[in-house]
Amino acid sequence: MATNTALDVVMPQMGVSVSEGTITKWLKSEGEPVAADEPLLEISTDKVDTEVPSPGDGVLQQILVAEGETVDVGTKLAVIAPEGAAPAAGLPSAEQPPPEKTPEPATARAAAESNAAAGGEAVTPTAETTEATPARTPTAETTEATPAPADAPTDGAADGKTFVSPVVARIASEHSVDVGQVSGTGRGGRVTKKDIMAYLEAGPQAPAKAPEAVPERAAGATAPPPPPAPAPTGAPPRPPSPEPAAAAGEQLEPMTAMRRGIAEHMRRSLDTSAHVTSAIEVDMSRVVGIREKLKKEYQSAYGVNPTYLAFIARTAVETLREYPWVNGEIRGETIVTRNFVNLGFAVELADGKGLIVPVLKNAETLNLLGMAKGVAQLAQRARDKKLLPDDVQGGTFTITNPGGYGTFHGTPVISQPQAGILGTYAVVKRPWVVQDELGADVIAIRSMMNLTLTYDHRLVDGALAGRFLRDLRKRLETWDESSY
């Protein structure tokens, strides 16, 4: 799809609770041609790492956000210009000739179409694209903080208001000032260095005053109490702006958006749920035997490995049907239960520096083969950073599998707002007391595995958790090939 007008690439909304994303890598450089849907850049949010495709054919005219920067959802990241278009407009200038022809009313529509073609939320026409149409609305420009695309009207005055010069940007960031709060006296209302310096001198600014305000509050007995902390949201907190200094021998690295997201979620989960963990020992010998038998068939016929995880997931889903609260959620003052299971799987990323929980939707509809396939595909997409926002949302119960490293017990943290998380551990051969065919106790070598259920004791009581684990064990130990 060729484009006649410049298209904006914006930070996509990667899930409802995601408010910002980090540019990890630009896959194209300025001036390079791009095709519609061709990967343009990689972004990282606290939910997923993914590629952003180009909204249309053309040339990457201008990159507006550099690698490593974190920006809000909807922020304009780049401009895709039609092939052969003029170079980046840069600063609005009176010298620039007016557009040759009136921008067509189709501009916004063209952008919208390319957006649709690019696959949903990745690209949306911004206010500026809309601005280029004759029917421009006066409010549309207030959100823009970037230079105009080449074909936008460039009478100078209209764009000056929102252009932030390098020195103003620097001063604003050093003093944590929102440039939008400063009234500008420059061309077209632009905030000049003088304006922001005057603003700083005039004060009061929250960041500068904050340290003084604390003792005042403490001293005054009648002073009102500090406002309650804001309710936790999905957006991770920004790191404190002054960088900590490294002591001798230490090394510093910035936290990725994903790491911040994990950190925030883990802390919030422990602050929210009453975590209790129960463990049970499961004789996996039957599953081991069936798995050995199915392995060859599954590999040759379907190209998929029947993993222990698939077996456990399958039985867990069956058991969850009977324990809806374990698959439930506390939402405010009410308890939510469902007739479906969206099963999350904790997947470690290849670099060992992150964890993501893709969700297998409607897992109750899948048999063993479907489960094995679904898990394998999700894990692969997670490692390839190809997960879509939907892939990481809406989980109702989670399985985590640290047993691959030989651990036999753990106390995982619940993925909010769920009520439980199942931990699976190493399958090891152990001497085990079983009954022989005559009913006599004998010591046998069995493949044993520990399972843990970590549950939110606000909703799930210990007895319920115990029964859930007991039934789960029974299903695994008496695996019925015909019914799974």
Partner: protein
């Protein structure tokens, strides 16, 4: 302390050095009997004799080549190009031989080439140019462009003392127009150190030579004390530190020169500001220079060609209002 014109200060410095140091001699077209086209060396031959004030043939190649050889043998030659424009004839001796000798063989080449340059008096395309940026591009050379009588003296003495080939661009339009107090005693001004001609806090004007006065007049007409004028004094080496310090203070920069625009030395300054002071800028770096054409004869056209006070004023207003 005596009042001197720019021309008298040059003459005074040169005479002083010739009296002080027997290695210093003068060579050029009509510098002896006639006293030089602009009378800088008037009376020199009478005082120092024909062997130290040499009337050369009309060959800039021979003048600069001869000076290079003499310098390598331990002399301190001061050559005069009758007009700076004529230096193109000596390009090879200057650029290929003199500028590289020290790097090739370790031999210092302490020559000074005086270059009456600049327009403003209808000299036309062959007698009005400002070729300093061509030579500012040549490693091994130094390029000096004094603006005041005091600097003209101190910088000329430094140029003669310097062990490298130094091009000394003396602006013809300043010769008799600018007259100020000049210290009587011998003094030097280091090459590569700028001077603040006018102090201000909001716009930095970087310039040199005759344009210092054009900028000053424009700043005074603007009348709000906002303009800081940095007179570079030398464009090679140039005082990057002084320029960046001023720009970091004002956040707005206007680079002004009489030479043509494309590839002019102003481009180097503007690029350095953009590169090293980007986060201090509150407006685009503005350049004011002559258009990319030969200097016209016609007084009206020449006025349109050389940056005038009103051009600079317009540039300053643009930056003020930005």
């Amino acid at each position: 302390m005596a009042e001197m014109t720019y021309l008298q200060a040059i003459s005074d410095a040169l005479r002083g050095e010739m009296r002080r140091d027997k290695r210093v001699f003068v060579i050029g077209e009509d510098v002896g009997v006639y006293g030089g086209a602009f009378k800088v060396t008037l009376g020199f031959q009478e005082e120092f004799g024909a062997w130290r004030v040499i009337d050369a043939p009309l060959s800039e190649t021979a003048i600069v080549g001869g000076c290079t050889g003499a310098a390598m043998m331990g002399m301190r030659p001061v050559a005069e190009m009758q007009f700076a424009d004529f230096i193109s004839c000596a390009w090879d001796q200057l650029v290929t031989v003199a500028a590289k000798q020290r790097y090739r063989a370790g031999t210092p080449v302490p020559i000074t080439v005086r270059l009456p340059s600049g327009g403003g008096f209808s000299g036309g395309p062959f007698h009005s140019q400002n070729p300093e940026s061509s030579f500012a591009h040549i490693p091994g050379l130094k390029c000096v462009c004094p603006a005041t009588p005091e600097d003209a003296k101190g910088l000329l003495i430094s140029a003669i003392e310097d062990p490298n080939p130094v091009l000394y661009f003396e602006h013809k339009h300043l010769y008799r127009r600018i007259k100020t107090e000049v210290p009587d005693e011998r003094y030097t001004i280091p090459l590569g150190k700028a001077r603040t001609h006018l102090e201000g806090n909001e716009i930095t004007v970087v310039t040199w030579g005759a344009m210092v006065y054009t900028a000053e007049e424009a700043a005074r007409e603007l009348g709000d004390g906002s303009v800081e004028i940095i007179d570079l004094r030398t464009v090679l080496p140039w005082d990057k530190k002084a320029v960046l310090e001023s720009v970091r203070k004002t956040s707005k920069a206007l680079v002004l020169h009489e030479d043509t625009r494309t590839g002019g030395f102003g481009a180097e300054i503007a690029a350095t500001i953009a590169e090293e002071a980007f986060e201090d800028l509150d407006a685009p770096v503005k350049r004011i220079a002559a258009p990319d054409a030969p200097v016209p004869f016609s007084p009206k056209l020449e006025k349109a060609f050389i940056p005038q006070v009103e051009d600079v004023l317009a540039g300053l207003r643009e930056l003020t209002e930005y």
